[in-house]
Symmetry: C2
Subunit: 163 residues, 2 copies
DNA sequence: GTATGAAATTTCATACTTGAACTATTTTCA
DNA sequence: TGAAAATAGTTCAAGTATGAAATTTCATAC
């Protein structure tokens, strides 16, 4: 490693506790995400966003409208269009017109998509369990409680968050 | 809200505690990131990745090489190229050849970049404090400790992580 | 009945992100 | 020395992400 990175905290780093907590949380989240993304790519040739969409569709068996998907996943609506397009191309998902509203489309998992998702979800849980192996169940509860305190004031919460 | 989203937990949701903790953590992180990204865009017409690069450069006054930047930020090296390009175009950053190694480039904050960063960093901290207002300093410490337990086994850790 | 505005999606421009392929340089060591 | 391996960066293709503008359809007030 070069000199620049070696001399670490060149500055006093006077950070508030909250900023420090946020940065640590961000780093841990990215670490886990990177690991999971890589394994999805290597073992299932898929991506995290695709998995997220399939997970949402799996939860709601009747399917979700495009706008419901973007709300549930908290991503821009234009974004969902592309991801669903690729899932349709892969035969994992189907677009169904909504009776009575020609504007809307319902997105539904196909049998193939549902089966693929089941397999991926089970493995995904193993990956998470593995990365969280040093985190006790009690600490998990504490994390859950703590996370819910963060940025959760009405001012920040976007509407329509599924519990 | 439509029917699909209204009937929430259609499935039993038998999640392990660890999976639950991870999902909650991911959701909170995205909530905070989305908020910060939006404010960066509205108030400074910049982006989170640009800010991250500037933050790294601000910490190391001597500048960082491209590869050091990508290591410090844990992003692909090809990624840094584009972000630095735009920072150069904005006059926030300078590329300096490294004496004795014609392959490498040192990236350094300009005076303008450093000033801009100072202002942004101060405001950024306020945003974080705001979103973490319900999180006590003690809980912050607990979060820091917990985050360090996650995915931190040697198997997952990429090399060269700055402390 | 029709203007008018709201809602559901798509399209677009821009930016970020990754991993892989490629170029250029430096280092290693037989 | 000089070929092979390692290192530093850029370029590339594909995918993800955003917000804004445009399109089509729906709902409603008049």
């Amino acid at each position: 490693m070069s000199e620049a990175l070696a001399e670490e905290s060149a500055k006093p780093e006077v950070k508030s506790q909250r900023l420090r907590a946020w940065l640590r949380m961000l780093k841990a989240t990215r670490r886990v995400e990177a690991h999971i993304r890589e394994r999805f790519r290597l073992e299932f040739e898929t991506t995290l966003p695709r998995f997220d969409v399939m997970a949402a569709l799996d939860r709601f068996e009747g399917g979700l409208k495009m706008s419901e998907l973007s709300t549930a996943l908290r991503v821009a609506n234009g974004n969902v269009t592309g991801i669903v397009e690729r899932l349709v191309a892969d035969g994992a998902v189907l677009r169904v017109p909504v009776a009575g509203d020609k504007r809307a489309t319902l997105v539904v998992l196909t049998k193939k998509g549902r089966d693929e998702f089941s397999a991926m979800a089970a493995t995904h849980r193993l990956w998470v369990d593995e990365m969280f192996e040093r985190v006790s169940p009690e600490l998990c509860d504490q994390i859950v409680a703590a996370m819910d305190l963060i940025g959760a004031s009405p001012a920040y919460a976007k509407k329509g968050e599924p519990a």
